[in-house]
Symmetry: C2
Subunit: 149 residues, 2 copies
DNA sequence: TTGCTCCTCACGTCACGTGAGGTGGC
DNA sequence: TTGCTCCTCACGTCACGTGAGGTGGC
């Protein structure tokens, strides 16, 4: 949107921004989780944008917080790319097809629902763990108090 | 406490109870995360109790929910074993040493605090993710509603 | 006794880590 | 031009998965 060309970063900076390593990024590219960018000549440096950083941050987050495998993440990214492509096509040929538009939005909603399900599942488990730990903590505090009587 | 001898289970049942596999259990024994039990003769079956199941469940939980490495889990288990040993010794020679008792309880409290810190950190991250997803969801719902006008 | 379940190697796999030796680009 | 940072192999490692071939125990 801005008139100035976007600043591009290299693999080291992308790694720092996303809390990963260059090796991890190259590996993700190798297995097709990240795409290779526009046909880089062999030996030349990889170049990224802030959009790439956002995408990778999201991937790393889902990997760490939900424990998804790289295969699952690849599927997820592919589904997301496919839906983005559909939306792009749709915007390119604007029509009055409200049903189609509603369908696309519903699809997006379902996708968000699925992720929310995973997140809330984890949240529930962690809250149970937290409860158990605070219970233990209360017990210890009680015993300490009993010593001072 | 009960007069009846405790039922012992084999590796397959332990795996089922803990949501792991026999291979995983053998591996954890191999690296010293689980102890090998009383000197089993080579080739004979491993035998476990429900206490072993509880311990392993807890390990698996921390592994999955907090993403701890097996090295970290080994440290944690060792620390816990050491503290249990100290408590056992202490109970064996009951004394009036209230300061010592207070010290042990405080140590236990600190350990719980550490785990609570990890759990709450994760909880915070997951709650942020949940918030972002519900925001997205609201946006989609809004757009769908706008179509029906 | 039969049939599961278990046993011990041992090689395979996933997700990277870690050099070695060499080149790209501000 | 110098000096980082990056490049591509390629082998190592962690946490198991997956047979192969054989034995334990209700």
């Amino acid at each position: 949107v801005s008139a100035t060309a976007e600043r591009t970063i290299r693999i080291g900076e992308l790694a720092q921004l996303t809390g990963t390593t260059p090796r991890t990024i190259r590996y993700y590219e190798e297995i097709g989780l990240l795409d290779a960018g526009e046909a880089r000549e062999l030996g030349k440096h990889r170049s990224y944008t802030s959009a790439d950083a956002e995408r990778l941050k999201e991937i790393v987050r889902l990997r760490d917080l939900l424990g998804l495998s790289l295969e699952q993440l690849t599927e997820l990214v592919e589904a997301e790319t496919a839906r983005a492509e559909i939306r792009r096509e749709y915007r390119a040929t604007p029509s009055e097809d409200v049903d189609r538009q509603r369908y696309l939005l519903t699809q997006a909603g379902r996708h968000i629902e699925t992720q929310l399900g995973l997140v809330r599942g984890r949240l529930g488990e962690l809250q149970m763990l937290e409860q158990e730990l605070t219970d233990k903590q209360a017990l210890v505090a009680e015993k300490i108090a009993a010593l001072s009587v």
